[in-house]
C-alpha cells in the first residue's frame, strides 16, 4: 500500500512536470483555406434578439491572475456597445465560461461555446498552449477567435484574429533597445522562460536574431523552468556568474505567478536593474498589482500599451474602466489597472463590432472579410489597423521601466505602428512562409500562392 502510494505520488508529480514540456513548437499550423470549410453544424440562425459573444478566459488556476481582467474588460466593452444601441438592432449577450487554466478544458469549453451556445465570436485564451488547444476546434467549426495576448508568432489561422503582439512587435524591439547605448549596451543575454511553446519559440527567434547581430552562442544562455516554479536560487546565482565580464541582460518569458519569486530572488541576491536589467514580456500593470514592487524597480517590460501613456484616448479608456469597476463593484476596487492585453481585447471587440455593422450580419465568413480592413483609434493614441492579409494588428511598441507605484515609465517607443510578421524572417525554415488570407494567396503558411496569378497563367 505504502509502496503503491509513493510510486503514484511520484508519477503524478512526474506527469505534472512533463505536461509543460509536451507542447513542442509546431512548425506550421494546419489551416483550412477554403471559406466554405464549415462542414460543422452551425446552430440555426438565431431568432432571438441578442447576439451571443463568448468569453473564454481562466477565472481560476495559475493564469487567473492575468486573465480575470480580460473577462472584465470584455464585459465592459459589451456594455459600452450595448449602451450605444447594440449591433444590428440587437443587444450583445456575453457567455462567460471558465476553462480554469487547464489547457484541454479550453478546447472543451470552446466547443461548448460554438456548438451549444452558438456564439457569434469568441474573445479568449492567454497562454499559447491554450490557443493551440482551441485552434482545431475553431477551424473545425468555423468559429471566430480574437486572441488578445502577445505571442510567439509562427502561426496564422483563418479563424483567428491576433490582436496581441507578434515577436517583431515586442521581443525584437526590446532586445534592440537593450543592445543600444541608452538601454545599457548589452553584450550577453540570458533567455529565461517557463517551459512551454511561447518562450521556446520566442527564444528560438531571439537566438537567430542575436546571431544576425553577431552575438555568439557563448554569450547566450537559455534556461527553462516548469510552470509554477518558485525556487530561483540556482538560476539567479548562475545569471550572476554568467554576467561577469560582459554587460548582461535577462530576457524573461516567465509566465504567471512564478515572476514574484524570481524578482524577489534577484533583489535579495543583490542584482540591480541598472547592472543586469530584466526585460519581461509577460509582466504588466495587472501582474504588478498583486505584488511588492520594490524588488522590480527599474526592470523593464515591452508592450504595445502602458497605462501611463498620456493621450486623451487613454484617459477616456481608463476613466471608462474605473467607472465600470466601481459600478460593478469588482474586487480590487480603485486599485484595478489597465494593461496591454486589456487594450487589445478592447480594440479587438470594437473592430469586430465595426465589421459586424459593415457586413450587416454576424455570419463568420462575412465578418472575417470585413474585419480585415477595420481601423480604430486605440487608447495608446494611434490609428490602429487590422491586417486583412495576416490577421494581425499593426501596433506601436513601448518599453517601460517599473516604478514604485506599479506603473511604467516609458523610456523608448516606436514612431508609429509596426506591421506584424506572423512568420519570423530570422528563422530560416519559416522566413519563406507567407501568411496572407487574401487572393491569390489565401493561406496561413504557404511559400506559394494557392491560386495562380494572371502573370503565372499568362506564362503558362
Amino acid at each position: 500500500m505504502r509502496k503503491w502510494l509513493g510510486v503514484a505520488v511520484a508519477c503524478a508529480q512526474l506527469i505534472n512536470v512533463a505536461c509543460s514540456k509536451e507542447e513542442p513548437p509546431k512548425p506550421a499550423e494546419e489551416t483550412k483555406a477554403a471559406p466554405s470549410s464549415s462542414a460543422a453544424m452551425k446552430p440555426a440562425a438565431p431568432t432571438s434578439n441578442t447576439i451571443k459573444v463568448g468569453i473564454l478566459h481562466s477565472l481560476s488556476g495559475t493564469m487567473a491572475i492575468s486573465e480575470t481582467s480580460l473577462r472584465d474588460v470584455a464585459l465592459m466593452t459589451i456594455d459600452e456597445i450595448n449602451a450605444k444601441g447594440g449591433l444590428l438592432g440587437k443587444k450583445l449577450e456575453a457567455v462567460v465560461v471558465d476553462p480554469a487554466s487547464n489547457w484541454p478544458l479550453f478546447a472543451e469549453k470552446a466547443r461548448e461555446l460554438l456548438q451549444k451556445d452558438g456564439v457569434a465570436v469568441v474573445f479568449g485564451c492567454w497562454t499559447s498552449v491554450s490557443r493551440k488547444s482551441v485552434l482545431p476546434v475553431f477551424e473545425e467549426l468555423n468559429g471566430l477567435l480574437f486572441y488578445p495576448v502577445q505571442y510567439e508568432g509562427e502561426e496564422s489561422s483563418y479563424n483567428v484574429f491576433y490582436t496581441g503582439a507578434a515577436p517583431n512587435q515586442q521581443a525584437i524591439p526590446a532586445v534592440e533597445y537593450l543592445m543600444s547605448e541608452k538601454g545599457g549596451g548589452a553584450k550577453r543575454f540570458v533567455l529565461l522562460g517557463t517551459d512551454y511553446v511561447y518562450p521556446r519559440t520566442t527564444n528560438k527567434i531571439l537566438r537567430y536574431f542575436l546571431h544576425s547581430k553577431n552575438v555568439s552562442d557563448d554569450d547566450i544562455k537559455e534556461e527553462y523552468t516548469p510552470f509554477g516554479h518558485s525556487d530561483y536560487q540556482t538560476i539567479v546565482a548562475e545569471i550572476k556568474k554568467f554576467a561577469q565580464g560582459k554587460r548582461t541582460t535577462v530576457i524573461s518569458t516567465i509566465n504567471g505567478d512564478s515572476n514574484v519569486p524570481f524578482y524577489k530572488e534577484l533583489a535579495n541576491q543583490g542584482l540591480k536593474a541598472q547592472d543586469i536589467p530584466v526585460v519581461a514580456f509577460s509582466v504588466g500593470e495587472e501582474e504588478l498589482r498583486g505584488i511588492d514592487t520594490k524588488p522590480l524597480l527599474g526592470h523593464l517590460a515591452a508592450w504595445n500599451y502602458f497605462m501611463s501613456i498620456d493621450t486623451p484616448q487613454n484617459k477616456a479608456f481608463i476613466a471608462e474602466w474605473k467607472d465600470y469597476v466601481k459600478a460593478q463593484n469588482l474586487p480590487g476596487g480603485d486599485k484595478r489597472v489597465t494593461n496591454d492585453p486589456m487594450e487589445a481585447t478592447y480594440i479587438g471587440m470594437h473592430m469586430w463590432a465595426q465589421a459586424v455593422e459593415q457586413a450587416g450580419t454576424t455570419d463568420v465568413d462575412a465578418v472575417r472579410q470585413a474585419a480585415g480592413y477595420q481601423t480604430f483609434m486605440s487608447p495608446s493614441g494611434f490609428n490602429i489597423s487590422l491586417d486583412a492579409k495576416n490577421h494581425h494588428l499593426h501596433k506601436p511598441v513601448f518599453i517601460g521601466e517599473v516604478q514604485a507605484n506599479g506603473q511604467f515609465q516609458i523610456v523608448w517607443k516606436t514612431e508609429g505602428p509596426i506591421r506584424a510578421q506572423a512568420w519570423s524572417p530570422f528563422i530560416p525554415e519559416s522566413s519563406k512562409k507567407v501568411a496572407d488570407w487574401t487572393y491569390p494567396w489565401v493561406c496561413g503558411n504557404c511559400t506559394e500562392p494557392k491560386y495562380a496569378t494572371s502573370d503565372a497563367v499568362a506564362k503558362r
Binding site: 505504502r2 491572475i65 523552468t225 514574484v260 498583486g290 511588492d292 523610456v411
Partner: protein, 505 residues
Amino acid sequence: MAALGGFAQLSGDDVAHAVRALGESGDPRAIRVLKALRDAELYVDDASHVLIRDKNGAMVDALSGAPVPASGHAATINNEIRRVLDTLIARLELKSPDPDERLEAVGELARRSNEEDAPAMRDALEHEKVRSVRRALVSALAEGDLASEDPKRRLGAVEAIEEAGALGLAPKLAALTTAPAEPDPAVRAAASRTISSLHRKQIFVDGAADVLYGMSTGSILLLSALGLAITFGLMRVINMAHGELVMIGAYATYATQVFFHEHLPVHESLYLVAAVPVALVASMLVGALLEVAVIRFLYGRPLETLLATYGLSLLLIQIVRSIFGAQNVLVENPPWLSGGTELFEDVVIPYNRMAVVVFTAVVVAFVAFVLRGTPLGLRVRAVTQNRPMAACMGISTARVDTWTFALGCGVGGLGGVALSQLGNVGPELGQGVIVDSFLVVVLGGVGKIAGSVVAAFGLGILNKVLEPIAGAVLGKIVVLLAVILVIQKRPQGLFAPRGRSVEAV
C-alpha cells in the same frame, strides 16, 4: 549648481544630462544631491526648486540647506540615470574621508571595470593608507594591469588576483599561460598557479552553494511536509487538504499584515512575529473542525478519507477565494528579511531563506518537544502505537485524535507563514505543496519524523546539484525517477519503523 534646473524636467535625458554636469562641477554639495536622487529622495516643487527629503521625511532646499515645507514631486529616475549616478558617486567617494565609503566606491568602480577610472584609482592608491582599501584598489586595478607592458606590473596583477581569489578573472588569466602571448616565464608560472588555485576555489564555492541552496529548498519542503508527517505519518489519515492548511497559514499571515498596517503602523515590520501564533491557531482551529466534523467518521477507511479530504480541499479553496478573491494577495517581506549576505564570493544567501532555515529548525524542535516532552505527546504516541491499550489506560482516544490532527494542521499553517515570505499567496498555494509533501513523508518513511527531515534535505540538495547540470525541468524529473527507484527498493521508506507496531498497521 546651475545644472540643478535639469532635475525639474520630466524627461529622463534632461535629468541624465543634469547629473553628468553636476558630477563634473566639483561642487562639494553635488554628492548629496546625487545620492538623494539615487535613493529616490530628491523632489522638485512647482517653482523648479530642487529639494532633498531627509530620513525623517523633512524637506530641505538642495542649494541652501534651509528647511522648506514638503511639496513637489519626485525627480525622474531610470536605469540610464542610475548607471551614470553610480559611477559619478563612486568617483566622488573615492576621495571621501570615510574609509568605508572609499571601499564601497572602489568596489563599484571595479565592478564596472571602466578604463577611464584607472588613473584616478592609481592616484588614490598612492595616497591610500588603510590596508583594506589598498587591497581593494590593487585588485580593482589588476584586470587592467594584466594587459600592461611592464612584466612586473603583470606579475603584480596576477598575484593580486590570486590573493583576492577573483573567480571572474580566471578566463583572462588563461591568455597569460602560453608562451607567445606572455614572454615572461615568471608571469606564466604565476598565472598557471593562480588558475589552478582559482579552479579549486570554484569547486569549493559551487559545492558550498549547492549545499546551502539545497538546505534552503529542503527546509521549505520539510516545513510543508512536517504537518503531514503527523497527520499522515502518525495517524494514517491521507489528508489531501493538507496543502490548504498551509494556504490558510499563509492567508493568516496576510491578515496579520493587514491588521498591523491599519492598526499598528509603527510596529508594522514586526507583523511576521505576530503572524506565527496567529497562523498556528487559525490552522489548528480549522484542522480541529475538520477532524470533528468529517475525518473522525472515516478512520480506517483510507479511500473514503482520500475522497473526502480532496473534497474538503476544494471547499477550502473556494471559501478562501470567496473571502479574499481569486487574485494573489500581497505579502511583503519586512525590511529585516529583505536583501541578503554574501557568504562567499558569488554565493549570496538571502535573509528570507536564512530565516526559513532557522524557522524550520525551530518548528522541528517544537514538534519534537510536543511529541516527546509533553503529556499530549505521550498520549499521542500511546494512541498511535496501540489504540485499544491506550483506551484501556483511560486515555480519551477521540480527544487525542482531535488534538493530534489539529497539531499536524497547525504545523502546516506554520509552513504557510514561511512560504508567504518566499512565493505567492493565492488560493491555489496548497495545490503546489501537497504532492511534494506526500513525497517527502513517503520517502522518509511513514511514521518517522526524523525520516521526513532527512528526506526533505536530501531531495533539496539533490535537486540543487542536478539543476545546473540538467536544467530545472529535467532536474525535477530525474529527482522523481530517483524517488521511484528508492521506493521500489525500500517500500517502507528510508527510515522504516521497526518492531511489533509495524505488523499491527
